[in-house]
């Protein structure tokens, strides 16, 4: 007679229901979102869905989904916490699966009827003739058992200690496994403890402020947090009764009195299963949806899918990949300097995802400097400003601009072979910069065409940032036309706002350089000569130049040649926005000045003679805010120190 042996207890039902619902809901959501990808994104997927990039995507999934390397880099303790949860739980599942698989293999090899008797007496194993119903002990005894077949439903590994009290003595690794599993459980507990500390004293974990969560999120978090203590209790009680625990659960189990806990064992396992189920069912509706969604996002991003100007399926993946970790709150100047705790990216993402009132979403999206600090900090790498742009999209208001006047005044200047110099609107308010640039061009013997000397056309970025996308495109077209037709060989601009626009939103055929890059190039090629003075200066990284375009080293290399550059506390990608970023139209001048003062304070925390920046906007902002320190642009500093 062939028999089958199957572990089963009623408490696996909640768990199974939870898993099934989780799968169904997630699948439904993912399929719907993928269906909502726009044409361009779809084409990208069709073209690249299977390419070598998959390998780097998998590697990044492992690094960010489990190890959380990016959070580690930002904040070590926070990284430990996130990793303990993710990696700890993941390994619990993987090792648990290995443990149950191997044990069952040994049981299979043993092929002993005595063992089957023993298991059946435990009350949670069913012995069944192949193809027939459940058979009881007596009938089993009568016939020769030719083959024992152990069934291994996937839930065994989750409730392993309950089902397997005793393993064959030939299975030597049993002890090792139970100790490793206990170690992993402890690891998860480390994360849990840190999470509790974070709620009470977030500063210990290096967080100024943590995210305010919704009720649903808190409920789900409660379920998540109770899973592991319940598992520990259940395993300890089982260890107390049957002595099958590892170093941790057995120690705790030994503290219990078997007579007292015997009746509790089953309920504890039941509780554990129910909590798992509650967590699974709430997962798709809470921030924990990020666990799986982040993996998809990484894949799509790797194969080149990009955010568009409208909300699309890809946006849904981005929104749901946010873990509401609150890292984006830490550096936000609106939070830090103005005490506005409602508009940070985490709340923007959440309010769109939860489909809150459009007015509220718009309010959050509008009140932001677009300083990019949060985008750089976000460990998930969500394109936060693209999401802001989607909300800011002006729709019907953005039909067509009235820019026909720009063409009427086109220059008939011959610029073939020259460098086109674009000062930018803001540079016209800081003529020191443009004059210095002219001096530098002359010193280098470079022929140039000062495009916007008398009349400036805006680059279009301010319109773009405010969601007037069509009008911005109109201006871009006019500028592109002018540049391409002029025959210039290179475009140099003094304004980082324009620079970013030319670099990322235009499609110019000639190289685009910010003046810091250009000066750096001249210095390296020895086209201009400078003397070095001993003034102490601090350098402010403009948002659009630094975080926006990644230009951190060129200005520093220039400044080191001409003057004595000091480090500041917040610099490079951590630099504090000057407060006057054109991305914001909601702040009052007073509020902007407050942020500006904070930025200035960072720049002057060490004694310096001059504050240097590379953006006409920042320069103007700082000049307004201080009489104490002279504020110069890099071009001015270099022009002053030119040796002819």
């Amino acid at each position: 007679m062939k028999i089958q042996v199957i572990p089963y207890n009623i408490f696996v039902i909640p768990f199974l229901v939870g898993v099934a619902l989780l799968l169904v809901i997630c699948l439904y959501k993912y399929i719907r979102w993928i269906g909502k990808f726009n044409k361009q994104q779809r084409d990208t997927i069709k073209k690249n869905w299977f390419s070598w990039k998959i390998f780097s995507a998998v590697w990044e999934m492992f690094r960010e989904g489990l190890l959380h390397v990016k959070i580690f880099k930002k904040n070590f303790l926070l990284g430990v916490m996130h990793q303990a949860y993710a990696l700890g739980w993941f390994l619990l599942i993987v090792v648990g699966f290995a443990e149950s698989t191997l044990t069952m293999k040994y049981l299979q090899q043993e092929n002993s009827v005595e063992r089957v008797y023993q298991l059946e007496n435990q009350g949670d194993w069913y012995v069944k003739e192949k193809g027939e119903g459940v058979i009881d002990e007596l009938t089993l005894g009568n016939e020769e058992v030719s083959k024992i077949n152990y069934k291994r439903p996937f839930y065994v590994s989750i409730f392993y200690r309950y089902f397997v009290h005793d393993v064959p003595s030939s299975f030597r690794n049993a002890h090792l496994f139970s100790n490793v599993m206990d170690g992993l459980l402890l690891y998860v507990f480390l994360g849990l403890t840190m999470a509790i500390i974070k709620i009470m004293y977030s500063r210990i974990l290096g967080m100024r402020r943590t995210t305010r969560h919704t009720i649903v999120d808190r409920f789900s978090k409660f379920a998540l947090w109770s899973i592991f203590p319940l598992r520990l209790l259940a395993e300890s009680v089982t260890a107390c009764l049957y002595g099958n625990g590892g170093f941790f659960t057995q120690t705790i189990g030994n503290l219990f009195d078997p007579m007292i806990v015997r009746g509790m064992e089953h309920s504890l396992w039941m509780f554990y299963s129910v909590m798992l189920s509650v967590f699974f069912v709430t997962l798709p509706f809470t921030r924990y949806m990020h666990i799986f969604t982040e993996l998809f996002l990484i894949y799509f991003r790797k194969i080149g899918v990009k955010e568009s100007n409208e909300k699309s399926g890809y946006t849904m993946f981005e929104l749901n990949a946010c873990s509401r970790c609150g890292v984006c709150i830490q550096g936000c100047p609106l939070d830090k300097e103005l005490g506005n705790h409602k508009v940070q990216s985490v709340y923007l993402v959440r309010s769109i995802r939860n489909q809150e009132r459009p007015g509220k979403i718009k309010m959050i999206a509008d009140d932001c400097l677009m300083c990019d600090r949060c985008s750089v900090d976000c460990p998930v790498g969500i394109d936060l400003n693209a999401i802001r742009r989607i909300v800011r999209n002006k729709g019907t208001l953005d039909t067509k601009g009235n820019y026909s006047y720009v063409h009427e005044n086109k220059y008939s200047f011959n610029a073939i072979g020259r460098i086109a110099y674009f000062g930018g609107c803001m540079s016209h308010l800081t003529p020191g910069i443009t004059e210095s640039m002219e001096k530098i061009f002359e010193a280098a013997g470079q022929k140039y065409w000062y495009m916007d000397k008398q009349r400036s056309v805006c680059c279009g970025r301010p319109l773009q940032q405010q969601g007037f996308l069509n009008q911005a495109a109109e201006l871009r077209e006019k500028n592109s036309d002018m540049i391409e037709k002029s025959g210039a060989v290179m475009l140099v601009t003094s304004c980082p706002i324009c620079y970013r626009s030319f670099k990322t939103e235009y499609n110019l055929s000639i190289p685009v350089l910010h003046h810091t890059e250009y000066i750096d190039m001249l210095l390296k090629q020895d086209k201009i000569k400078v003397r070095k003075d001993d003034k102490k200066v601090s350098y402010h990284d403009p948002c659009e130049l630094g975080r926006g375009c990644g230009i951190y080293e060129e200005p520093r290399s220039v400044l080191k040649r001409v003057t004595n550059l000091q480090k500041t506390r917040y610099q490079k990608d951590k630099s504090v926005c000057c407060g006057f970023n054109l991305g914001n139209t909601v702040l009052t001048v007073e509020q902007q000045t407050k942020i500006c003062n904070a930025s200035l304070k960072n720049l002057t925390s060490k004694p310096v003679d001059t504050v240097v920046t590379a953006c006409p906007m920042c320069k103007k902002a700082f000049i307004r805010a201080t009489n104490e320190y002279p504020v110069r642009d890099i071009a001015e500093v270099v022009a002053e120190n030119l040796i002819n």
């Binding site: 019907t396 208001l397 067509k400 601009g401 009235n402 820019y403 006047y405 720009v406 009427e408 005044n409 609107c425 803001m426 016209h428 308010l429 008398q454 009349r455 400036s456 056309v457 805006c458 279009g460 301010p462 319109l463 405010q466 007037f468 009008q471 201006l475 006057f580 054109l582 139209t585 909601v586 702040l587 009052t588 001048v589 007073e590 906007m617 103007k620």
Partner: protein, 111 residues
């Protein structure tokens, strides 16, 4: 000669009974800093669009203030939102916000 909006106007009458200031009041609610404007014209003097055409932002917001909304919508589309005016305004009027809100209000039907 750029037109700063200071030219002498011919005499005219306005029928105040017919003027609806509803939109203007709404504008003040949305951009309170506009209350501070003292009509100096710095915004127009620096305006990037003004260098090309007779677009005059001071004229535009002054007309809005008087309840003369005709043609303003088309006129405002000339603005490039470059922000020079906001930076220069001596009274701290948030002109970019003002311009966007004017456009929004002009778009909406009169209540």
């Amino acid at each position: 000669m750029p037109d700063f909006g200071f030219s002498i106007k011919t005499a005219r009458t306005e029928n105040l009974d017919k003027v609806s200031l509803e939109k203007y009041r709404e504008l003040l609610r949305k951009v309170p800093s506009f209350k501070r404007c003292f009509q100096c014209g710095c915004c127009s003097a620096t305006c990037s669009a003004q260098q090309y055409t007779n677009f005059n932002i001071r004229k535009v917001h002054t007309s809005f203030r008087r309840g003369e909304y005709n043609l303003l919508s088309e006129e405002l589309k000339k603005c490039m939102l470059c922000g020079k005016c906001t930076l220069l305004c001596p009274r701290g009027v948030n002109l970019r916000s003002l311009i966007m809100n004017m456009r929004q209000l002009l778009e909406e039907p009169v209540k």
